[in-house]
């Protein structure tokens, strides 16, 4: 087992494009770390640098306190699960799993027992003699997992391994992967652009944007205190409402002419432009709130999402079904508890903190 350490890692592609910039991250031993971010933010690039499939332009990657920049992928004792699985099409499932072990000179008897064990864990026992083309997407995914675990590597890398599966299977497999990783205790780096996957699977969540880390933390910590507008809107579903507001001083802001109480410790000067974040699930109907106009109601079964406008600004609200008999065109008076308001600087998009409030 190992910890992964990235020190000021950067990647500039041949064309001069800077895909990852001065990125530092430590993933402790046995931790399941999820990298999440929009398409093109450099997640795969980062993962491939750890794997050794991409050269590292600046900085160092260490496994177990040993710098591995110059090591070949095979020497790093890492296994990777690819988005399209990358199974060898001409080999049987058994040989797909055995191949890496054979190349390492593991005795055939040992290989047989390891593959049998993996096949049992992943429920692949009946498929061992099939070729990949005779498998369903979910089965291929499990074979790819099997190929990774028979190696007993120090680190697992996953690059969006579930994105080719249908929604139901995805939910099932994400639980399976998490269980498996817990059982094996292997340090893992998992890339996804799906925030639900990120929230549910991560021990440590890393939100990336444009080649840099926006925020690192436990999923709930990031959910509760997003440090920027980007993170606030990226993590959580439906996404957080961001409203333009102006400070009136003394912990009061004005949105659309309505006075809203925020954390007084922020001591914002009057006239300061801010953005107020409110999660849809923290809005509720109450007597002394502000008035919104319902545009559309989406029912998800247990919950419904009410899309509404507040003056010029758009707003979404998530409530339990039947709590609010909302219809489009209707006006509702809603509010939110002050501790659930997130305050960001309008210019920088950064969260305003108590300590260094200027």
């Amino acid at each position: 087992m190992a910890d992964i350490r990235l020190d000021h890692v950067g990647k500039t592609y041949a064309g001069g494009f800077e895909a990852v910039r001065d990125l530092s991250l430590t993933v402790p031993d046995g931790c399941f770390c999820v990298l999440v971010g929009p398409s093109g933010c450099g997640k795969s690039t980062l993962l491939r640098m750890v794997a050794g499939l991409e050269t590292i332009t600046t900085g160092t990657v260490s496994l177990n306190a040993q710098v591995v920049n110059h090591l070949e992928p095979a020497q790093r004792d890492i296994a990777m699960v690819f988005q399209n699985y990358a199974l060898y099409p001409h080999m049987r499932v058994y040989d797909n799993m055995a191949y890496g072990l054979r190349n390492r000179g593991v005795p055939e008897a040992e290989i047989a027992s390891r593959v049998a064990h993996a096949a049992q864990i992943l429920d692949l026992e009946d498929l061992l003699t099939r070729k990949p083309r005779a498998l369903s997407g979910g089965q291929r995914q499990r074979v790819a997992m099997g190929r990774a675990i028979v190696r007993k590597p120090q680190v697992f890398l996953f690059d969006e391994p579930l994105s080719n599966l249908d929604a139901k299977l995805r939910v099932h497999m994400r639980v399976e992967i998490r269980k498996l990783q817990k059982a094996l205790g292997v340090t893992s780096l998992y890339v996804t652009h799906d925030q639900t996957e990120a929230m549910t699977m991560a021990d440590l969540l890393v939100v990336m944007n444009k080649g840099v880390i926006e925020q690192i933390g436990a999923p709930m910590e990031i959910y509760r205190t997003p440090m920027s507008v980007f993170v606030a809107t990226f993590i959580g579903s439906p996404p957080m409402n961001i409203l333009e507001a102006t400070s009136l001083g003394d912990g009061v802001v004005s949105i659309e002419g309505h006075r809203l109480l925020i954390d007084q410790a922020l001591s914002l000067p009057a006239g300061h432009k801010v953005k107020i974040g409110i999660r849809p699930e923290h809005l509720s109907v109450q007597a002394d709130g502000f008035t919104i106009h319902v545009e559309l109601v989406e029912s998800l079964g247990a919950h419904q999402i009410i899309h509404a406008t507040w003056g010029q600004q758009k707003l979404a609200m998530q409530v339990e079904t039947d709590r609010v008999p909302a219809q489009s065109g209707q006006a509702l008076v809603v509010g939110c508890a002050p501790q659930h308001l997130h305050v960001f600087d309008a210019q920088t998009g950064q969260r305003l903190l108590r300590d260094n409030a200027s």
Partner: protein
Amino acid sequence: MVEHRHWSMHVLPHLILGLGVLLVVFPVYLAFVGATLDPATIANGQMGVVPGNRFIENMSRVLLAGAGGSTREPVLHMLWNSFVMAMVIAIGKIVISILSAYAVVYFRFPLRKTAFWVIFMTLMLPVEVRIYPTYKIVADLGMLDTVAGLCIPLIASATGTLLFRQFFMTIPDELIEASQMDGAGPVRFFIDTVLPLSLTSIAALFVIQFIYGWNQYLWPLLITSKDSMQTIVIGIKKMIVTQDALTEWQLAMATAVLAMLPPVLVVVVMQKLFVRGLVETEK
């Protein structure tokens, strides 16, 4: 729409197909008939479409004793020479082109693009175009009347390299990366993954190149002078003596029929793989 086609729509395609088959098959059939006749019938120009009764005799004579004309070599030996040439050309081309395509597609070396374009340009220079310089080189190297001299200049060509390059580019990058993670170097990746995946392309190229090699005429004509090096295509030509009635047509026809058999056999045996190699895109 499809189910309710007029009867003529069924007949017409078959008519056209039948006509095409007839056009191709009839001359072949005539050659076969010629190979069964006795010399007198053929010399008198009384050849019909009914086979004679000298088939076995004609065949055994050309195969073992050789026919007339300006060659005395038994056809069995010519068949062997042609077979060797076609095999060496086909296998040599496959080996060279799969290796060069592998280098061009998977390795980043200086002048990689240039190397590819140089190979590509040789498409414009088949043996017929460069025949004098090539002959000179082969002669200077003392390779006249040798298998090497016969085959090596025909092995060099770009078609195979292009075919394999196109095929390799359809192999997903992740497969290489997975191999790398699995500890396979370039040689292992080639043997364990690229070769098995290329099997159908190899079969297709083999069929095409075997027939190409078998049908060679101009180059063997220049490069071989000894009877013992003679290929069957040249042999047939030499059996046909100009103008005179000296030509033993029944023997020439028997030889022609024999010359057709190996390519037909190769196509029939490899047909399934061959077609898959040309159309398959499944990965």
